[in-house]
Amino acid sequence: MKQILACLFAVAVMAGCSAAYAVQPDEIMADPAKEARARDLSRELRCMVCQNQSIDDSEAPLARDLRLLVRERIAAGDSDAQVLDFLVARYGEFVLLKPRFEPHTLLLWLLPPLALAGGGLALWSQGRRRARSAAAEDQPAFELTAEETARLERLGAAESAPQQPV
């Protein structure tokens, strides 16, 4: 979507990438099982001259070369992992859309679960702390002026149905 807008800032880089027409009929492998594997692998590989497009989506010449290369390796009998290793050895890790779990991507993979766990833990400890301190203080958290109290009452009176909407 905004990829379309992205064309604006990256016209030069995006040349040949925007109006995508990906896998060409002449590339398709005869064996449907191998072709399916090639398609799945293609979705995990980046077209390196495009902005965030997999080689499966991109119509850039480089993407076509990579698609043919993937199929070549599959035809030669490589396993999926071997194909990926081959491409990483040639083009670097930049080619993988899903980075491997390695020291320099440690934070990338661990931060989301840590954020969830940390958030959950913070909620739990805060809930406990508040439950304990709640018994001690039970007074309104703020003072309203007389005018505001009157305003709130007017608002409350204007509210028609007492149900609890969300």
Binding site: L96, L97, H104, T105, L111, L123, A158, E159, P165
Partner: protein, 660 residues
């Protein structure tokens, strides 16, 4: 002349914004109503001048005044009128002008309809709006002026990027900006509350309609953009986890969380500090999105480094506003006392869980989007983080959220009864199980994931309907009573039902499209027939046609099902001469919620055309879901409670008010 007038109007708007950002603050400090009221008049005047400036740029584009750089670079005299207008914001400078115009529009709306706000709160809110506006006016005037002239005007323009010459450009960016920028109001309310050092349930009631309004626009804007990419890019993808898309998804996730936490604050006066923080974060993410898109940092870190003026300026705005507001938050938030205790199992607890999962999902998108940039800056290593990463990390956060959605509205405030809620959801659970069983049998041992995910979606939809049935007493009370109760139900309750059902509907579409999408790729000659998902598509032939600013090759396909002719589809491939680029115009045929999709590739020497044909089952539900969600938001926005609270004072005589 028009360009200079527009430029000058923008300078005047900056002057007004500077007044708006200082005088009302002083007024609030000295408790001087006259000074505080300056905010109102400057906000309205600012809107007037920005509107004039925007109108000037539109006029320049419409009249094809190529002596203006912006028009020369993005327009062409032969371009159809609609694209001359939409082309105004189809470029960096123009879209920034649209950004500030919408900012001024929201400021003007608060000024016009905020009569029921306490005077000092309104003064503070508008002053903060003034700060944001000043920063962005300066950005436009210093680095991105759309009104610059060319000394030696050319005869013809360079035309707009053909991909953007589509009705989508008329709708998508304005919608998206209405959402992005709309969250500035929640931000201003939050900062105003921090400055005033007090915040209460009434604050939540005032800020909610604005948040809701922004959220509705952002929801529709994202959905619209997704559908645009789907039919325009030519290979039927609808979400790419592109950084630019993520930039709009992050404020949406945070905004959705904000919407829910504001409910808790309004009803129970709890989660105050958190709600303030979310309001700040949501708009900060909008600013971050603007930075990511506008600085060029996404293309490559090096492109950013070679021409850093714009990027550094926005980065500066970003740091000042995010850093400043978070510092203010850290300084003042402890003064805000917490209120409203609740047990973990309660409506509040469910909404807290919603917030936890939504913000973690938002953090995941944030990390995935920015990690490659940070890594490259720090170590020089280049990695890619794309769709496979996000699918793997995002889905596990969203699935538990979906399970929890039906429970939330059925739990009571303060202390809920989980078992009771579960009992009331038995019918929804049974519906989900039936859906799973039927799909499982029908697909016969295909992937187990799809039936389960659709079962979950059915559970969400049925859960939303259960909520409705519970509130109206359907099946328990006689029908007329239930109907009367349904009419008496607050609109916001109806809104919840629609919005939650929309989530389920979208999930069904997503799962069906990704699992049972069928595809045909091949070279076709006239009279060749392609068969896909039972449909037979015969290529009748191809013709050349001349459009206003392009030439196109149109192919005609006759579609039939079981020998019955359904109609023709005419995909085309356009060649735009000025830019020398081509676009594929896909042809779509809608059958129920499913679509057939054809896009054309190159023509071989022997006349065979490369074609891609897709059958996308239930694909329209992907966008119908968000539309339902936005509709729910609108119902909620029209709730009497919000109308009374803000933004409109109910001055109409009682006899004229609609019965509720």
């Amino acid at each position: 002349m028009i360009a200079e007038a527009g430029h000058y109007a923008l300078v005047l708007a900056l002057a007004l914004a500077l007044i708006q950002s200082t005088v009302p603050m002083l007024g609030a400090r000295w408790r001087d109503p006259a000074l505080m009221n300056v905010a109102r008049s400057t906000a309205l005047a600012q809107l007037l001048f920005v509107a004039a400036s925007f109108a000037a740029l539109v006029t320049l584009h419409v009249t094809s005044d190529f002596s203006v750089v912006n028009v020369f670079e993005n327009s062409h005299s032969l371009k159809p009128m609609i694209y001359k207008i939409t082309g105004v914001w189809g470029n960096h400078e123009g879209s920034m002008l649209l950004w500030v115009s919408i900012l001024a529009l929201f400021g003007g709306l608060v000024a016009a309809f905020g009569n029921n706000l306490p005077l000092s709160l309104r003064a503070h809110v508008l002053a903060v709006q003034g700060w944001i506006a000043s920063a962005f006016y300066l950005f436009i005037l210093i680095t991105s002026n759309p009104f610059l002239r060319i000394a030696d005007p050319p005869l013809e323009g360079r035309d707009l990027n053909p991909v953007l010459q589509d009705i989508g450009l008329a709708v998508h960016p304005p919608m998206l900006y209405l959402g992005y920028v709309g969250f500035s109001i929640s931000f201003s309310f939050a900062v105003a509350a921090l400055i005033e050092g007090r915040i209460d349930a009434a604050w939540a009631r005032w800020v909610r309609p604005w948040t809701l309004l922004a959220w509705i626009f952002l929801t529709l804007g994202i959905a619209m953009g997704s559908y645009w990419a789907y039919y325009e890019l030519g290979w039927g993808g609808w979400w790419f986890w592109d950084p630019v898309e993520n930039a709009s998804l992050m404020p949406w996730l945070a905004g959705t969380a904000l919407l829910h936490s504001a409910v808790v604050m309004e009803k129970r006066n709890a989660l105050k500090v958190w709600t303030i923080l979310l309001a700040i974060l949501t708009f900060s993410l909008s600013l971050l999105g603007t930075f990511l898109v506008r600085s060029g940092v996404l293309t490559s870190v090096h492109a950013f480094a070679t021409d850093p003026t714009r990027g550094v300026f926005i980065l500066l705005i970003l740091s000042v506003f995010i850093g400043g507001s978070l510092t203010l938050f850290a300084w003042r938030a402890s003064a805000l006392k917490q209120g409203g205790l609740f047990a973990p199992i309660s409506r509040e607890g469910a909404l807290v869980l919603n917030n936890l999962l939504l913000t973690t999902a938002c953090a995941t998108v944030f990390i995935g989007t920015l990690y490659p940039l940070a890594l490259e800056v720090l170590t020089g290593d280049k990695i890619s983080v794309g769709a496979p990463f996000f699918n793997l990390t995002f889905a596990p956060l969203f699935l538990p959220l979906m399970v929890a959605v039906p429970f939330g509205p059925l739990l009571a405030w303060k202390r809920g009864d989980l078992l009771g809620a579960a009992q009331r959801l038995v019918a929804a659970g049974v519906a989900a199980l039936i859906a799973i069983a039927v799909l499982w049998a029908w697909t016969r041992g295909g992937s187990a994931f799809a039936p389960l995910a659709i079962g979950l979606a059915v559970f969400v939809i049925a859960g939303a309907l259960t909520d409705l049935a519970e509130r109206t007493g359907l099946f328990r009370a006689p029908l007329p009573i239930a109907l009367r109760r349904a009419r008496g139900l607050p609109r916001s309750s109806w809104g919840t039902v629609f919005a939650h059902a929309g989530v389920g509907v979208a999930l069904i579409g997503i799962v069906c499209e990704t699992t049972w999408n069928s595809e045909y790729i091949g070279s076709m000659k006239p009279n060749d027939v392609a068969v896909i998902a039972g449909y037979a598509l015969k290529l009748d032939g191809a013709t050349q046609r001349q459009g206003p600013n392009y030439r196109e090759m149109v192919a005609q396909f006759t579609v039939s099902l079981d020998g019955r002719r359904l109609g023709v589809m005419t995909p085309s491939k356009r060649n735009f001469t000025t830019r020398g680029s081509t676009t594929t115009e896909a042809a779509l045929m809608t059958r129920g919620a499913s679509q057939l999709y054809i896009s054309l590739g190159d023509t071989a020497a022997d006349g065979a055309i490369a074609v891609r044909i897709y059958h996308k089952p239930m694909v329209l539900l992907i966008w119908f879901g968000p539309v339902l969600m936005a509709f729910g938001g609108m119902l909620s926005l029209s709730d009497r409670r919000l109308r009374v609270g803000a933004p409109k004072p109910a001055r109409a005589p009682p006899g004229l008010q609609p019965a509720e």
